[in-house]
Symmetry: none
Subunit: 211 residues, 4 copies
DNA sequence: TATGAATGAGCGTTCATTCAT
DNA sequence: TATGAATGAACGCTCATTCAT
């Protein structure tokens, strides 16, 4: 039985604990996993907004206090779950070859955009957490924003869109227009068009000016 | 005694009622004005987030029920007040001559951007209400978003920025980058630069590609 | 056009008004009738408890104040409506020949009992108003209670139930047992039996002791 | 560490929870007791009707949320308190020897009747809750109604009032007449006589017919 | 770690009733 | 008479978070 340094990521909270026994470590991870699983269950059934800590601990069979021993707050759990969902979409994107056309680019980004706007609550939370809520260290969702720009940058470095500005700036612009297009999904004024349709004109004008 | 169509705007709530007297309408407007004035007072002293309905009715000298007869909820009042503040900034913008350079444009927009990000609470509320809260009819803040694009469009029609795309599309792009730049104000990663500094590269690349 | 003395019964409120014109009198009565009709409508659709003054005046096309010009309060309207419903049942009872047996008596009283317990709200209100709310003059429901005892007394005077006590005391007892039987309708403990089944043993023991 | 079945009675709300500690249960009971004590205080000073939840939690030194964690609503607390007051009167009644005469019986029941009619609010609430509010499980007041009949039954089994009907039926009749007599206390028509005076003729005719 | 009772501050609601016009 | 905005005093509720055990 050897003591190992284990870094448990409690949502945003980081704890360095010397774990003596594998059994204890296992129990901790299991509890955490049960909480996350319970949350995913609820989200699957009733959506993100309807998630209540009460319900999570009930399903997980733990006490409320236990929840907060594992996650700084409810949003930390949301950050974690939504962040990992986005990461899955980004994993998929990384598998793709760099899109050759703006049209391609948009099609590639659509699944991610759909998820990010699946609920107004989710989109709001993503926006709020994209900058890690201003104060704290970077959380899962904020990480995915960095990763999105990285992936886009890598793509744009390999395509011949614009030469006058850096690939990173282009990527950030794409990101800004994605947000814009997604935001209008919740807007009573512009909800006739799909996100893709709204994104098209922007990205054409941004990535291929003058053409 | 002629019947007139009176439209009382209860926050988001609209009622069309056939009434007979002007006097009653006046009292209604006065009460409403007292409530708004009380709210402005509190905001002036303690900021938007600190506003409590209880305090508003106390200062306005009305009953709580009266508040909710005039505004669907607290957010409806906020929508109204923030919306009219933004409108004042837009009034100022309309007085200005069309900016000749991107730098000029940014400087013109700064006061508005500063206001919209004066409190995280305000910016969040603006984002949330910019799409009219997703469901209901367009509220004051959402109206200002339309007006922002109109003003920008009018400007861009008179300047020689881009000829390959419509002034309106340019305007929408400017708007998207404004949001992007403002959002990063609350972002742990990028808060070293001012909004103007963050906006510069985007707008240059957007409005004067290739230069 | 002759001035007539007209006594308008405003629910509990009595007003003596010298009415100059038949037209005005007519309008008053019409308004009142519209209010009652609107209330009956609502009760027919949603029951007594769901009745809201707001809704009544909306349907009647009058202002709220008008309602209270005609009825002292909401309960006065309820008193009126429920009272006249009970009176209809009593009119029916008066048509009947005096019941010869306890069984007959119970069957005769059933329709009335059913109505009085159609809603918990109605039964509560009847109980509360049966004594005219303790303070004020006798209202419609309280009148019907007197009338019930009168009818029962008349019946019992003609039947040979008990000779040792007055017909009126017998009638009051029947009334007490009716209330008891009706009350248990709302009781979770005894709701297996019908009102008639519960009333039987009481009335047999009350009206035909020793038999 | 043995798990015990703990039953927390949240007013009407019943929860069966498997818990581990006695200490927690103790705290819960203490808080609950503090709330009840605070309520009793207020009632002692200002009467039942004047009780305000706000005031209760203030005196008890708990949060409002705590109140509603212990009692479904204000009425549930009232049910509890009034129910236990009635139980005290019933405890006293149980100590008494079975009354030999109707007069005795009435005198024995008077203290209870006086309490039940001490406030119109109390009598109304008792009537309303005597049937367990129609829907839910039996509450404290409803329990006392059952107990009243039980005690009366036991008495009547030992006395020689009526032989032709069961003691229980006699008891239920006495109960019905008690209610009738109490109700008339709040009645404008009959409030000249005391409850006892009103009860006399009924019970004589009920328990000693023909005499 | 785990527990779960307690917290708490404010929001929204209710809706019969009043009163100035 | 008619009008309808205003009243008002609680109530119930929310539900993430804390903390003593």
């Amino acid at each position: 039985m050897t003591a190992v340094n284990k870094k448990i990521d409690h949502g945003q909270k980081k704890c360095e604990i010397v774990v003596m026994a594998r059994a204890i470590q296992k129990r901790t991870l299991e509890t955490r996993a049960r909480l996350v699983a319970a949350a995913e269950d609820i989200i699957g059934t009733s959506g993100f907004e309807a998630l209540r800590v009460e319900e999570v601990v009930l399903r997980a069979g733990t006490a409320k206090g236990t929840f907060f021993a594992h996650f700084r707050d409810k949003d930390a759990l949301m950050d974690l779950i939504i962040g990992s969902r986005i990461d899955e979409y980004l994993d998929d994107l990384e598998q793709l070859p760099p899109p050759k056309t703006v049209e391609d680019l948009i099609q590639s980004l659509m699944p991610l955009c759909e998820f990010m706007t699946c609920e107004r609550y989710v989109f709001d939370l993503i926006l709020r957490y994209s900058g890690a809520a201003g104060v704290e260290e970077i959380g899962p969702i904020a990480e995915t924003f960095g990763r999105q720009v990285e992936i886009l940058t890598a793509w744009l470095e390999q395509t011949g869109f614009r030469r006058d500005i850096s690939a990173e700036l282009q990527a950030e612009g794409v990101h800004a227009f994605m947000i814009q297009a997604m935001a209008t999904k919740f807007c009573a004024l512009h909800n006739s068009n799909s996100i893709a349709d709204r994104l098209g004109p922007y990205l054409n004008a941004w990535l291929e000016p003058g053409s």
